[in-house]
Amino acid sequence: MYNAEDFLSLSNEERLTAETLRPSKTYWADVWSRLKEDRLAVFGLAVIVAVILFAVFAPILSRYEYDEMDFNFSNDPPTMTHWFGCDMFGRDLFVRVAYGARISLAVGFIASFISLFIGVVYGGVSGYKGGRIDEVLMRVVDVIYSVPAMIYVILLMVVVGPGLKSIFITLGISYWAPMARMVRAEVMRIKSEEFVIAARVTGASPSRILFRHIIPNAMGAVLVTLTFSVPGAIFTEAFLSFVGLGVSAPMASWGVLCSESVPAMAIYPWQLFFPAGAISVTILAFNFLGDGLRDALDPKLRK
């Protein structure tokens, strides 16, 4: 049953082969592998990619221009030639929705990135410095919070004047407050972690500690907040355009399209359906992705 060989002592080589080494995985590869498991998040990501491709390529490939009027097709329902139908001026809605996607996505991303930049720097300084400086900086955030965001976006729009550029600016400078608060909380938490203390013991400079140790560890939470702030910005832009403070015709953002179609929505429902649907699907997709990201970044949270 047994050979004498079985009872030979293990040589060092045999011992080493018994050692199994798993392939190295970086933090982000790990996050990605967990994110892939989450069906809703993958679905959200796929939808976002699809919307981006749609925004980039549909206007190029379509034979219609977004502002090309043809009164023969005025208020046509969806057909083989005009997939989403036409508006009252006979403009092709498919192209206009795609064009709207460009504007809405651009507003969403650029406004979020402006708020990301301001929020990370502001929150980072506030959390890292602490004490009096933190106190003052956070009271400013409180004041911004205490005014309902919409009122103050509208006020800014009235002052700066409607248009795409002013939407970027107003959204950017009004959306950073939650980001700043979140970054501050993260920085405060990470600041007291032992690896930061270890860096201080080594003699590392404050900027090295902030940029090499604290910020990289806060990026996960920043990314989640960013994913949730994009749909917020898209929605705000749609709302502003809807009430006439955003971009104006013939430019087409999703909000403008909705606004144009509302008066006749009982008669030509598709004119409202497609842009409104695009807004809903995109916002939902970002929320799915954000939820998935949050879980993937913090596996403990899932249970």
């Binding site: 060989e5 009872f7 030979l8 002592s9 018994a18 592998s33």
Partner: protein, 321 residues
């Protein structure tokens, strides 16, 4: 004294499904607990000592699956349903962190009374809770029952948990690292308290800990676990007096000498077991300095040294083959 078996576990297996793969936390563990005795389960992180107890108590949650040949408590088979009524009643548990078992927004008196009501206690509920709190040294009981968990120190919270666990006069107390979070002087108090309660009530105890000193001081019999399996089992004297498994010996050698002789420690080399990729044979093979070729491929059978002393190692099986 007649030994009466109160808990019997045969061939328990527990598997967890994680995103990284299947983890065999417990692999074929069998043991018994007799009335009035203290069974110590020693093991390091990943040894499966806590998973064993959670499996028996049906507290694993969704991710874990268990199987066994037999599982009985006081002669009756334990099923996932029946264990629910026994839990907290005939079998009680205390954990390392008492805070997780106490609700921070309810007074401790209310929580202890609730525990009694849940088990349909007949008689004066308030009186029983006050009696048990006094028993564990939380006085004046009436006043302290109105307090909330955060008003108690770590040691007092563990006392509270002990009071809660003995409310229904359990036959068996499972203590999972009950003093790991406590300082040595408080640890001595808590262990002393548990000893007194056992003397008064004759309850049995399973003491799970990584601290060999605590095991040596409190246990009648000891099980040493590694990588989900029992490596060695015996009376306290057998395990500490004549350790037979290379792992048990290694553990004892890695501790500083009790008499203070400053000899170099002899550590167990290598790293704790990787539960995702367990070796085919003995889980300890990679770190064992007596490992042989067969240890890589086949799991050793248990060898009997005395009625109470068993260990699983090919080194001893060698002669008999």
């Amino acid at each position: 004294m007649m030994t009466e078996e109160i808990l019997r576990v045969e061939n328990l297996r527990t598997t967890f499904t994680t995103s990284a793969g299947e983890v065999k936390a417990v692999e074929g563990v069998s043991f018994t607990v007799n009335r009035g005795e203290v069974l110590g389960i020693a093991g390091e992180s990943g040894s499966g000592k806590s998973a064993t107890m959670l499996s028996i108590m049906g507290l694993l949650g969704d991710a874990g699956r268990i199987s066994y040949d037999s599982l009985s408590f006081m002669g009756e088979n334990l099923t996932p349903e029946s264990v629910k009524s026994i839990r907290g009643d005939k079998i009680a548990m205390i954990f390392q962190d008492p805070m997780t078992s106490l609700n921070p927004v309810l007074s401790v008196g209310y929580q202890l009374e609730e525990a009694l009501r849940r088990h349909k206690w007949q008689g004066n509920i308030h009186g029983r809770v006050a009696e048990m709190m006094t028993r564990v040294g939380i006085v004046p009981a009436d006043e302290r029952m109105r307090q909330y968990p955060h008003e108690f120190s770590g040691g007092q919270r563990q006392r509270l948990m002990i009071a809660m666990s003995i409310l229904c006069s359990p036959e068996l107390l499972i203590a999972d690292e009950p003093t790991t979070a406590l300082d040595v002087t408080v640890q001595a108090q808590i262990l002393g308290l548990l000893r007194e309660i056992r003397k008064d009530t004759g309850m049995s105890m399973i003491l799970i800990t990584h601290d060999l000193g605590v095991i040596a001081g409190e246990s009648d019999r000891v099980i040493v676990m590694y990588g989900g399996r029992i490596m060695e089992e015996g009376t306290s004297r057998e395990i500490f007096g004549s350790p037979s498994h290379p792992y048990t010996r290694g553990l004892l050698h890695s501790l500083p000498k009790a008499d203070g002789k400053r000899e170099r420690l002899i550590p167990i080399e290598g790293q704790p077991p990787d539960l995702l990729n367990p070796p085919e044979g003995c889980p300890f093979v990679k770190r064992c300095n007596e490992a042989m070729r067969i240890c890589l491929r086949r799991k050793p059978e248990a060898l009997t040294l005395s009625e109470t002393h068993k260990y699983s190692c090919w080194k001893g099986a060698e002669e008999s083959c």
